[in-house]
């Protein structure tokens, strides 16, 4: 499978001496929905900026759609749509005019088909009814959608999106997720940078976890979320259930919490245990194969909570305030 993004030893040390990204090796295969996951301040945005040629690496290489960046930016970037650190527009112009200006600024895309393209992407993101209001009158969610629309203008092969659902309500988040899934099914590779584990878990097929500028994990989401080998059994007859589990010889009860048993299977199939419980006369309310969430995986690999960087979270709030103002 071809890679649309490949980095080797990508490193960025800013002038102040801050090591923002440290030897990152990423490989994003074509056709994936790739989650780039890390807490605030872990180097996600710097990495995204290096992928797009906005920030120059201190060391290492970036290949975007097979072209070395930032040297061959003019070959790679026309095939990429990007949303970097929030949308940005000329505030006193309408969304439509802004999109038309962005469309006109880039290569390709003739003047005659411009209106069709702009109308097309506005419809895709559900903003076709916005009219002539200036962007400064938009809500944060509407700006986010407009930013997404701008990224979609050239029907790109690769979408690089930094926190695309920021500021959207739950319905909006769902719409954007459906849109990205639909685009992905038509062949667009999606690179989604986010600090929201649930978002990556709900949308992505592959994920990379970064922490303090370093890659801690890169795998398919299915492989990250393999069953833990534990089973949660809910039953009113806990004592009887414990006896049945003990009688299997292989599985054993780890914990009893009210009417819930946590069972370590140790090779026994869940269906097998279920059959034995029922045969043993245990009424089972619920039987769940335990899977880790990405949050568990994250905690396990980094030893830290995703929400640990408080100072940066505050900086984000300020950022939002500035964008609104």
């Amino acid at each position: 499978m071809t890679s649309v993004i490949r980095t080797e030893g990508l490193t960025k040390r800013y002038a102040g001496g801050v090591l923002a990204v440290d030897g990152l090796n990423l490989d994003v295969p074509q056709g994936e929905r790739y989650g780039f996951l890390g807490p605030n301040g872990s180097g996600k945005t710097t990495t995204v900026r290096m992928l797009l040629g906005l920030v120059y690496p201190s060391a290492g290489r970036v290949e975007l759609l097979g072209h070395p960046m930032p040297r061959a930016a003019k070959h790679a970037l026309p095939r990429v749509g990007a949303l970097v650190e929030g949308p940005a527009f000329v505030p006193h112009l309408s969304g439509r005019v802004n999109l038309s200006l962005i469309d006109q600024a880039g290569p390709g895309g003739g003047r005659r088909t411009r209106k069709t393209r702009v109308d097309g992407v506005l419809e895709q993101v559900g903003l076709d009814a916005i009219g002539a209001r200036p962007v400064k009158a938009y809500s944060l969610g509407m700006r986010q959608r407009l930013g997404l629309a701008a990224a979609l203008l050239r029907a790109p092969e690769l979408l690089v999106l930094d926190e695309p659902t920021n500021g959207l309500d739950p319905a909006g988040i769902r719409e954007v997720r459906d849109l990205l899934t639909a685009l992905n099914e038509q062949g667009t590779t999606v690179f989604l940078s986010s600090h929201l584990l649930a978002e990556v878990e709900a949308l992505c097929t592959s994920a990379a976890i970064v922490h303090r500028g370093r890659l801690v994990e890169q795998a398919r989401v299915d492989d990250l979320l393999v069953p833990t080998g534990r089973l949660r059994v809910t039953t009113p007859q806990t004592q009887l259930a414990c006896d049945v589990v003990a009688a299997t010889g292989t599985a054993h009860v780890l914990e009893v919490d009210g009417s819930v048993l946590i069972v370590q299977l140790d090779g026994l199939a869940a269906s097998d245990l279920n059959a034995r419980l029922v045969q043993g006369g245990v009424a089972v309310d619920e039987l769940v194969v335990e899977r880790p969430t990405l949050e568990d995986v994250f905690l396990d690999r980094t030893g830290e909570s995703v929400h640990s960087v408080e100072a940066d979270a505050e900086a984000d709030v300020l950022e939002v305030g500035r964008v609104r103002g």
């Binding site: 797009l52 970037l77 949308p87 000329v90």
Partner: protein, 267 residues
């Protein structure tokens, strides 16, 4: 890309407000002159103003002399200082660059648009004050600063030369502001920085102790356009002014390009 930036310039209300304000000051001065008929005595006050009462055709030259020290440089510094820093502050710079627009091209286009704004401003000031001068004071054959009357078609040519010279001088201001604009994400800082440079230059220009560097000060030859109304034209300072601005523009643009092309865009 040039068309995009022109659209942005022309769709911006600030552009038009600036032009109106620029033309407003000379208009107010002219109306006061007309109502009171009290002109500055010859040789005092801004150049040409004393002659305007007798001849409206000189109002364009007087108007340019009025806006040249402060108004025009402020307007140019604001627009040029905004060019990169304004995009950075607004967050649109990153989206232009990933579109992609090459950084070199963006800088060129921004400079061209500022140059067009300068020409618009200077022509607008000269044009409105010509019309106003004609209405208020009437148009007569233009006497030269040196005495003899200038031929009529010659006077028109000299106004055109004046407009070009003033615009060229302002391109120097634009280069300073554009250079600073690549260093900061604040358009205000870039514009004020450029003005600080000009004020420093004007302060040093009148300081005898700084006489040795006087010929190299950016504002030194700004008012040399007065020499275009001598008979014959006194070219020496005009030529020096043109050459000096050319050096400033070339050096500052090269520095602006070197900085912008190699910098991390983190805005």
């Amino acid at each position: 890309m040039f068309a995009v930036e022109m659209r942005k310039l022309l769709r911006r209300p600030r552009t038009w407000v600036t032009l109106v304000l620029l033309a407003g000051l000379p208009a107010i001065v002219a109306i006061f002159l007309k109502v009171t008929e009290v002109g500055p005595r010859p040789g005092e006050g801004p150049p040409f103003l004393s002659a305007v009462l007798n001849n409206g055709a000189l109002l364009p030259a007087a108007a340019l002399a009025l806006v040249l020290p402060i108004f025009l440089p402020v307007a140019v510094a604001v627009v040029a200082g905004d060019s990169i820093a304004g995009e950075a502050q607004q967050g649109t710079l990153r989206y232009l660059l990933v579109r992609p627009v090459s950084r070199t091209k963006l800088l060129w286009v921004k400079l061209s648009v500022v140059a067009i704004f300068i020409v618009m401003a200077v022509v607008f000031v000269a044009g409105t004050s010509y019309l106003l001068g004609m209405q208020l004071f009437g148009v007569h054959p233009v006497p030269s600063v040196s005495g003899p009357v200038l031929p009529a078609d010659d006077a028109g040519l000299r106004i055109v030369l004046t407009v070009s010279y003033v615009a060229w001088s302002m391109l120097g201001v634009a280069a300073v502001a554009l250079f600073l604009s690549t260093f900061t994400d604040s358009p205000l800082a870039a514009a004020l920085g450029a003005l600080a440079v000009l004020i420093a230059s004007q302060v040093l220009d009148v300081l005898d102790a700084a006489a040795s560097i006087r010929p190299y000060l950016p504002t030194r030859y700004w008012l040399a356009f007065v020499d275009l109304f001598r008979e014959p034209i006194f070219w020496r300072n005009i030529q020096r002014g043109v050459a000096l601005q050319a050096v400033y523009v070339a050096v500052l643009l090269a520095a602006a390009w070197a900085n912008f092309a190699s910098k991390d865009v983190t805005s």
